[in-house]
Amino acid sequence: MKRQPFRSVLVANRGEIAVRLLTAAREMGLRTVAVYSDADVGALHVCAADRAERLGPAPARESYLRIDAVIDAARRSGAEAIHPGYGFLSENAALPEACEEAGLVFIGPPASAMRALGDKAAARQLAQRMGVPTVPGYDGEDQSDATLAREAAAIGWPLLVKPSAGGGGKGMRVVPSDDTLQEALAAARREALAAFGDERLVLERFVHPARHVEIQVFADAHGDVVHLFERECSVQRRHQKIVEESPSPALDAKTRDAMGRAAVALTRAVGYRSAGTLEFLLAPDGSFYFLEMNTRLQVEHPVTEAITGIDLARLQLREAMGEALGRDLGLTPESIRARGHAIECRIYAEDAENGFLPAAGAVLRWRPPSGPNVRVDSGITTGSEVSVHYDPILAKVIVWDEDRDNAIARAQRALADTVLLGLPSNIGFLQAVLAHPAFRAGETTIDFVQKHLAQWRPQGEPPAAVMALALLAAQAAESAMGAGNRRPSSHGPRSDDADAFSPWDIARSFRLGEGEPAS
């Protein structure tokens, strides 16, 4: 394997992952190229690169999902390598093929490995051949309604329907009985087609109550494969992960070892390269079933980075340059150690108080938390516009501490310090997850949210000071609008430390609900 050092990299993505990858490339001294759609002109990830190239109109199909536009952008900007991030084109085998044709380095697995493992049905069949257990189900090519209905009845209820080409829970749904099967199949096909351009579905027995435990693997072009332990991602809402952690509160050393060996074996079998994740269901009795492999860097990769101290994005870039895990990078199964406990909380643009509907709008204020062992990967800043066109993930708050209890306390503090104003988010809901006794006890099964927080609403009346702040904010906005009509004498003296550009023009002291104080 010859070395192919490149000096510039294009990140074919947007949002927090684009920022994170561009930052890793800059730290290696590489020239960086961002891409954007018309909805993302001036977005944070565009500002994080040395150069930016337009892909097309706002809809992903006309911009971030267009391989030809991405390759063109690389040509125009002189980029020598392409990192796909997650989502969009990251698991589309046509991208590495197009890169090869264009003489560009693709940062990720070869197209052949993506095809062998990225497709859920193919991956299940491979695992079965290798003796890795899988959940009973149907993953055949015959996708007719009649066949799916017959197979569903054979597998039994409740049943899980998911896109064959999918990831991230998009288009996945639990079907409780055959009454609702046809409606579920139709909806899953539409969402699969919209999200992945492929409407094939997989049916699976719904193992319950299970945990979602995944193994991070990394492979190089020289045949070395290592795993970097597990992440538990059981806390999900509608199959969307919201809190991830490592180590799993439920995994013993023996099961971890068995899972890790199965993951490494599967990865090796397909000639994999770069970062990948093998997802398993962990049943209450400790048995585990292989679900699928995600042939990309995952949203939750910072959890692994926090417990191992390994920068997975940099590792991907160096591996893509032809460096060997053991010889060049010093990474062997013996050298990889996990320490402490890490937790990631995903902040979504979702109206958690209103049925978790997607929320678009302007970020009027973003003030991320900071402090020792608090990391924030964010794709937004004050003034960002969150559009309806893309994934609702805005930012991730990742914390590390010596043990789980302290990590939870740190995560709670970090979320309490997260200021996100202007559009609804799930921050309050994340706080409810972390505060819940079942979460604190490590009872994190996939039905955690359904079981404990299905009826969640924000608790507690706003205290007087909060109401005063709200009334002040409403008041200030009106004052600002009607500034020309104000009588100067009706206002108290400005405080000396007032921000000259502040819309606030308020008395130092006031009494809410009463008349004008003497000034």
Partner: protein
Amino acid sequence: MSLDGRPPLLWRGTLIAAPQEQFTVSSGADGALVLSNEDATVVGYTARAGDVVWVHALGRIWRFERAAAQSRTRGALDADPSGEMRAPMTGTVRRVDVATGVVVVKGQPLLLLEAMKMEHVVRASTGGTIEAVTVKVGDTVDLGAILVRMAPEAS
């Protein structure tokens, strides 16, 4: 100064009363507002988007709405006695299942909205007859926009 006579604010649909406590207000670092009295000091960040007022204080985010705005945002999800079905979120109309004159039962799918790759089925909040469908496939609709007008059946 007085905050009386201002548009009242709602928290989770309930009118909030102006507190009877006195605070001293000053501006803190990074645009914060610092409210203090003899009992406590509270640091807050605020913003207003249309009829929604946002506050970050005491470790969480609080959303208030101006009273007049409530019917528009909250009514979107609830049964609307006037028979207007409104968009519960900003999104794109992917499918329309009904047309003028069609009789629907409560819970029947009327149309399909999509945003951020998630689908949301808008269902009839009550049984009745469709009087008008005000959107078509491909339209982008704002939160609170009228989608369908219905004549609710007499109950």
